[in-house]
């Protein structure tokens, strides 16, 4: 029996259904009746960081090569009777997939033939087919994907930063792995990872758009193969709170230096709460948005520009950092100025007008993101694996108070747990 819960948001005027399917899968159906397109994600809580694990029905800890989750994503599109793209070609759906640090998601968007497309999605993700030959063929394609990222200064500056922040956590490893690590991938290893992580109890289905909720569930009943409930232990080496090194540099073919400045914060198996994440978003808005005094000072000094300066709260299983990034002729001075601003703000406390503005801005942008079926589905999948609920998160923004933001300011941004990564132009 399906266990169905309807979840409503007064604030947004939207609602969705959360279904616990007997197969073990969690399903979200978010109706958008006036939309032409429907977007569906079938995702697993399995990403590039899950290289060492043990299931509750086995004794042995298994270690696998870096990049295997991403490799598996590529290979899952192929099955014994052809590939999934060829099947989608008959429905017109635009299909894709992505692998991040902590999840792998298969998705499509379409305006017609929604249920046919959904059937393809549910079918191919549950039908692995790996042979020596098909696995080998992918080496060339993924090899070129890795080479493309080798030339991408934004990608390099980020992974150099993660390598400077994290001693042991696999978040520092490139999502696609290396040419050497992917050479070790075999069909057996792919099956091992597939059978561990593509268990429906470890997965989620999000369907957002112009859909009939009963038809989606009928299709799920027909297509989903029940999984036995297995507990997966992801094994991470203990990560110290301090950083590996405070500064890292690389020279690449860029026109001007680019940087990422990261502040590492203690993280363990318990994820940050929805309130903490919302509060940090507001705090970042107060500290560094285009209307902040810091931003004005950096811009007037010619140290940053409006098209590249940005910040994010980078948070996942066992890792948590605040990251600033952009182009600058002098990244070290930018870092110094950011640290100075944090110290000043701690001393003075956050100005209440600035807080109210920041909260409104974060709230408004959150509301805006509910236009898009892709955004909603991706947010739902991400929040589910984090253990949070979507509308709750919206409320957490609207209900944040200034004391909580000041508290976040005092517990985050530790200068001695920060690192600066710089990519410089070639000589």
């Amino acid at each position: 029996m399906n266990i169905i819960k309807e979840i409503k948001s007064e604030r947004l005027g939207d609602h969705y259904y959360e279904v616990k399917h007997p197969s073990g899968l969690k399903i979200f159906i978010y109706p958008k009746e006036n939309n032409n397109s429907t977007y569906a994600i079938f995702g697993t809580k399995y990403g590039s960081i899950d290289n060492c694990f043990k299931t509750s029905d086995e004794d042995q800890v298994k270690e696998v090569p870096a990049g295997i989750a991403h490799y598996l994503e590529h290979k899952l599109f192929e099955s014994e009777d052809g590939d999934a793209f060829a099947r989608y070609a008959k429905t017109g759906a635009s299909a894709n997939a992505y692998t991040s640090f902590d999840k792998t998601c298969y998705l499509f968007s379409c305006t017609d033939n929604v249920y046919e497309s959904l059937e393809i999605l549910l079918d191919f993700v549950q039908s692995p087919y790996f042979t020596e030959q098909t696995v080998k063929k992918e080496q060339g394609i993924i090899g070129q994907e890795i080479r493309m990222y080798d030339d991408d200064p934004q990608w390099r500056v980020m992974f150099n930063l993660l390598g400077a922040l994290y001693h042991n956590h696999p978040v520092k490893l490139d999502i696609a792995g290396t040419v050497e690590s992917i050479a070790k991938i075999t069909p057996d290893l792919l099956y091992k990872c597939y059978n561990t992580f593509y268990n429906l109890n470890n997965m989620v289905l999000c369907v957002v758009g112009n859909v009939d909720y009963n038809k989606v569930l009928e299709l799920c009943d027909k297509m989903l193969k029940p999984s036995k409930p297995v507990k997966i232990d992801r094994i991470f080496e203990k990560e110290p709170d301090d950083v590996v090194k405070p500064r890292v540099e690389q020279k690449l073919s860029v026109a001007s230096p680019i940087f990422e400045l990261g502040f590492k914060e203690h993280a363990d198996e318990n994820r940050k709460t929805a309130n903490q994440i919302a509060q940090t978003e507001i705090l970042l808005e107060v500290l560094a948005s285009e209307s902040s005094p810091l931003f004005k000072r950096l811009l007037d000094a010619g140290l940053i520009n409006q098209s590249s300066f940005s910040y994010e709260y980078f948070e996942g299983p066992g890792y948590s950092s605040i990251i600033f990034s952009g182009e600058s002729k002098d990244p070290d001075t930018v870092a110094k100025e950011i640290n100075k601003e944090v110290a000043d703000l701690r001393k003075k406390g956050i100005n209440s007008a600035a807080f109210e503005r920041a909260k409104k801005a974060v709230y408004g942008r959150m509301i805006s993101s509910f236009n898009s079926v892709d955004n909603i589905a991706n947010m739902m999948a991400a929040l589910t694996f984090t253990g949070h609920e979507l509308f709750n998160y919206v409320d957490a923004i609207a209900e944040a108070d200034i004391n909580s933001i000041n508290a976040r300011l005092n517990s985050q941004f530790k200068e001695d747990c920060s690192a600066l990564s710089v990519v410089l132009p070639l000589d």
Binding site: R11, L12, G13, K32, N36, S37, A89, K90, G92, A93, S94, A95, S109, C110, T111, D112, E138, Q139, G140, I141, Q144, E145, R147, M148, D150, D151, D152, P153, S253, V254, A255, S256, S289, E290, S291, S292, F295, K296, D300, G302, N305, Q306, S307, S308, E327, R357, A358, K360, A361, V362, G364, R365, I367, S368, F370, N371, S372, V373, A398, L426
Partner: protein, 427 residues
Amino acid sequence: MIGIEQRSVCNGVNFRSVKDTKFKTVRMSVSFLMPIKKETAAVNALLTFMLSRACKQYPNFTKLGERLAELYGANIDADVQKLGDVQLLHLSATGIADRYALNGESISTELSKLLCSIIFEPPLEKGLFPLDSFEQEKRQTIELIKSEYNDKRIYARQRCEEIMCSKEPYGINRFGSIEDIKNIQREELTQAWHNLLEKSRIEILVLGDCHPDPIFEDFYNAFKLINRTSITPCNTTNILKAEKVNDVTEKMEVAQSKLVMGFRTQTAIPDENVESVILLSAIFGGTPNSKLFLNVREKLSLCYYCSSAYDIMKGIMLVQSGVETKNVEKAKDEILLQLNEIKKGNFDDNEINAAKLSLSNGYHSITDSLAVLEAWYLAQTFSNQVKRPEEAAAIINSITRDKVIDAANRVTLDTIYRLVGSGEDVK
């Protein structure tokens, strides 16, 4: 589908609106259209960015930023593009629908006033833009131009376009050159501002959950004060056939080589055959079921990406790929071979239908995003008849196989551009 309303504000100023309450936001934009010329490209681009940063009431970007944050994280954005040989200078405002404002504010009314204000009331001092913000914007625009060098995929595409269209206005960078930006005087900027308001063709678009009437009124009143007696016409001339093939190889410190091939199609807006070329490009390299994806990537494992894109305004088609240097010629030969296959009619109904379904899916999704809808109507500025997305989809569906073969046989190779790692030679 909700219809588009059109009205004229004054000579050469069109106002178009689509009111659709399924969106939680509003989007309004003003696009100035001018022929792109070496002498004016830089000053027009700089002006567009300058205008977006301040107005009389909020005379610097911090003040304007504070106001936008108060309006629930609303945005004012500047963008410069090319539509064929036309420079499109675009200023837009986006924000949440009034029903989501927590204190009953009318966001759309406020945004309309702000957008009018930044365009018609820049914070001039004795008729000139303030010196400090002028210098700052110059720096930022130069940095923006430089940053396009960092993404080698974008860089290689732009180099190919530059080489291919070196004798046409289209070969001019949309932001002008760094040298030209440096040489701009403040007096020229004021002159360019007057020119834009008085002489350019202007398209105003208002989309989403708001009443367009008061916004129309705001612009109507603002333009009443402007003398618009002579409007600069905008035309694009197209070279129909390549006379000889440009063959250019450049070296750079990169891990992966880029190959870009530019083709002339003999077909551009307002030609009635553009849809045939759109379909041709989709079959050739527009989807994961296209000839390029299935052969260059899947069969030969030469690359991660290999795709074609057709510019309906300029009538050119570009094929882009990232490959090992030793495979550049192999990829080039395969790309030409696949085009030849289409010229000879070697493609089946499945390939046509897949391309049609994929394009149709894309067209029907347009009305689900305000940004995409806006781009759709802007791209049609120079069509003989403005089409709704579903009308375009119907035309695509009616195209016969013979039309695709005809379109392919009108295509000629104009330019081959390779960006290869230094120290490596193309075999």
